[in-house]
Symmetry: C7
Subunit: 95 residues, 7 copies
Amino acid sequence: MKGLRRLVLDVLKPHEPQTTVFALRLSEIKNVDGVNIHLSEIDQATESIKITILGDDLNYDEIKRVIEDLGGVIHSIDEVVAGKIIVESVRTEQD
Amino acid sequence: MKGLRRLVLDVLKPHEPQTTVFALRLSEIKNVDGVNIHLSEIDQATESIKITILGDDLNYDEIKRVIEDLGGVIHSIDEVVAGKIIVESVRTEQD
Amino acid sequence: MKGLRRLVLDVLKPHEPQTTVFALRLSEIKNVDGVNIHLSEIDQATESIKITILGDDLNYDEIKRVIEDLGGVIHSIDEVVAGKIIVESVRTEQD
Amino acid sequence: MKGLRRLVLDVLKPHEPQTTVFALRLSEIKNVDGVNIHLSEIDQATESIKITILGDDLNYDEIKRVIEDLGGVIHSIDEVVAGKIIVESVRTEQD
Amino acid sequence: MKGLRRLVLDVLKPHEPQTTVFALRLSEIKNVDGVNIHLSEIDQATESIKITILGDDLNYDEIKRVIEDLGGVIHSIDEVVAGKIIVESVRTEQD
Amino acid sequence: MKGLRRLVLDVLKPHEPQTTVFALRLSEIKNVDGVNIHLSEIDQATESIKITILGDDLNYDEIKRVIEDLGGVIHSIDEVVAGKIIVESVRTEQD
Amino acid sequence: MKGLRRLVLDVLKPHEPQTTVFALRLSEIKNVDGVNIHLSEIDQATESIKITILGDDLNYDEIKRVIEDLGGVIHSIDEVVAGKIIVESVRTEQD
């Protein structure tokens, strides 16, 4: 296991296609082991979703392409995990 | 294991049939391993419930059909998990 | 394991019989593995209790009958779990 | 394992005998496996304590008698667990 | 294993001897397996500390004597655990 | 295992290169087992990120050099773990 | 295993030497298994750090000497653990 292991993306999307379609398409990308899509906010025309992708040597550009093909826009990369071991963020007193 | 693995649905329903009926019917759908229904809010004529469905290669359209046959309306898909591994949403400082 | 697996009931009861009697009677119902009764609120004549019942293929109607025989009234079904696997409710940003 | 398995009691007691005496006496009752006494509030003449008793087929009347013999008064039964399996209370959105 | 198994004591002490001395002395008492001393508050002349002592058949009077020999005063016994099994306090809605 | 085992760094960086590049480069440094980069704050021109690096006998100077080569500035070292065992920070009442 | 097992120290230090140097030096002391240094507060000339040291039969005086040699001052001993078993502080309703 190496390279990108987990990505957390803040994405804006129209209501269609629905999140089940995003999750299925992303889960079919090579090296992706699992996908979680959380609804953050829902507006009249759009939805803010948080996408968590787990895998091995993830290809960020292909993930981005699939999201954009479905009409989504990546607003920010909220977390990136890379390397042999999945490292969790440590809570500090500066948080 | 593949496809849709967990769905969290925000649903509005009339008081009848009661949630035990919803849970039993949904648990009998093919590929569903378990169902949790949480009462979120109760009004004079309706109830807001949160349905969590766990399984393998879940069929969203059939789940939706069963909920609607029982008089429920899906307001939003609050979480979707897909793929070989069940991925939990990562808490970020943007949350 | 199948059918109803866990029920969380919001119940109003008079002070007598006391909750130990409710817990024992409910634990003796067929297919019930365990019962937890939590005191939520206590008033001059009544008590609000939260009853959690764990088992396999639970019979809701019999549970309801036992509660009513003891003078209790079910105000709401706060959670229902059904199926082969006990599924916990997932915390979402909509909660 | 059956019958009453865990009791949480809200008790008022004078300062003497001290809580170590309550804990030891209650732990020596038949079928009791362990006792936890937590100090909730301390006043000039009295103390509010929360007593958690774990065991198998607990005898509530004998537990009550021991507490009263030591000068304590049971204000409320805050939790009762009964049956083959120790069931924890489920946190719901109604809490 | 029996008798007193865990004690949590609220103690007031002068700055000297320091808490490392309290912890070492208490850990050398017969039947004591481990000691944790947490600083709660620090004043010009005194310190409030919380002492947690784990063991088997603990001798409260000897523990008290050691604390007093070192210049400490026990303000309250905040928790007592007794019996074969270490029972944790259960959080209730009355807390 | 010895030396520096985990570092948590508060870093300011321009938007480019993006955090996936930081995570990959840092994960390729000798002795690094894994890297987590969390987005703390996003401004018009810069991003505050928290970098957690796990490994064995980590070389702080090389890590710093890689971060600076990518245009990042280390604002503070929020946590350092060293030695044979990874020790977590203990929450105290002074926190 | 015996004697002092874990120490949590509140220390004030100048910016130099940096915390990585403190962690490495402390981790090299005899009987020390691991060290965690958490940044609590940062000022123009000084830093407040929380040092957690884990080991067996720790020598407090040597630890203090190393901290002072590096220019640090111990403000308080926030936690001490001693004995065969590492005992965690129990949260009580008095906290």
